[in-house]
Subunit: 232 residues, 2 copies
């Protein structure tokens, strides 16, 4: 049990407000880290995600250790998620050979870089990200080899790394299916009613049920034998 400040292991956790990052945060807490959540506002279509991130952080005791950082949206145009193109509905989400139109250019590279800057400042050697290579294998920056390449970069590109510290990027969900992620989160006490997955919110902040993300989420809850707490 860690009681003194000095022995505390700090981690920065990327928290989008979605199902995956909420589960990744619960994993970081389970692993014994004193967690600092980091959420970006970068021209997502909707504030629902940010609100969900706040609610998730609060529910896991991080309300005073949750930073919401604005990123200039002009850096992330060109994706359906930032409004440049329509969000595709009823797409065949079982096809893993294509990069989804919701891909945001270099997003995880940028997010991990900013998490690294924060980690180095606060003396954390660990970063958690909810990247997942199974249900969204079309995203290049969710692959294990990308995560490994970032760890190498972090050690080379920081003062801490140059002084012999080694950064770890934990992607505890990377090889799990969405069903397994939900089952893991349920065991860890994640309240999925607080999370937000939809790319295309409807009036009254209801999820659409038809975008990639809603389809995958709904199917996964069904397969996990439980009910999605969101109202579609």
């Amino acid at each position: 049990m860690m009681t003194t400040r000095d022995s505390t292991r700090h981690a920065v956790v990327l928290l989008s407000g979605g199902l995956d990052s909420a589960t990744a945060l619960a994993c970081a807490i389970r692993d014994g880290f004193f967690c600092h959540a980091l959420t970006f506002r970068y021209g997502q279509r909707h504030e629902c995600e940010i609100e969900a991130a706040k609610n998730v952080a609060r529910s896991l005791g991080l309300e005073n250790r949750h930073r919401i950082v604005g990123l200039d949206p002009q850096l992330f145009v060109g994706s359906a998620l930032t409004g440049a193109e329509p969000v595709p509905l009823h797409r065949d989400v079982s096809r893993h050979d294509q990069i989804p139109p919701t891909y945001v250019p270099a997003r995880n590279t940028v997010f991990l870089a900013l998490a690294l800057a924060l980690a180095e400042q606060i003396g954390a050697s660990d970063i958690y990200i909810g990247a997942n290579a199974v249900d969204f294998s079309g995203y290049p920056d969710c692959r294990p080899e990308f995560i490994a390449a970032f760890e190498r970069l972090a050690d080379l590109g920081t003062k801490a790394g140059a002084q012999g510290h080694s950064f770890s990027v934990h992607a505890p969900l990377i090889r799990l299916t969405k069903v397994q992620i939900i089952q893991l989160g349920q065991r860890l006490g994640v309240d999925y009613a607080l999370t937000w997955s939809c790319y295309n919110p409807q009036p009254g902040n209801r999820p659409c049920g038809a975008c990639d993300s809603c389809q995958i989420r709904k199917q996964a809850f069904q397969q996990a034998g439980s009910r999605d707490p969101l109202n579609y």
Copy 2:
């Protein structure tokens, strides 16, 4: 000679307003790229740097292709450059075995990540950075191995990379001394009167002449046999 849009090779150039990045921009132009400059406002102590970047971009014909992007300063506390600690004066800049107090946590990782996001959006495969491993060898994120690790990350973490494009991060100054950088820039027509190097500006926007950066700059102009156009 490239005349059509399709054959144009685009490059993103990180431009701080300093001597090195101005020279790197001139190199990118020399190399035949259609350049897009990217400057960050991230809690630097002074606006002089941003103004210098604008003037340099304008002088090289990029006024319409120069983005100035705000970055939340809370991500970069803990450095003398962002106001957390005093800028050291009269430090022995010939010692290369120490990381300078002006190191900003993970700065080049963040800057390159954001440059990559922009590059992918505009269809550029090339990024230029004025990193230099000689006069500032204390900065871990100015080393050739760091640059190489970022190139690998870029290919793994982007749609373009996954589709077989390869990103190049050019650091044309990385093995040059400051004297060689100045001589190169002078051959390429860089107007160093527009650049800004000082960490500690004096009233009337005059450089202090005593911080690491001023010391290195002044010495280099002397050794290059020319006069620094700035008034100390």
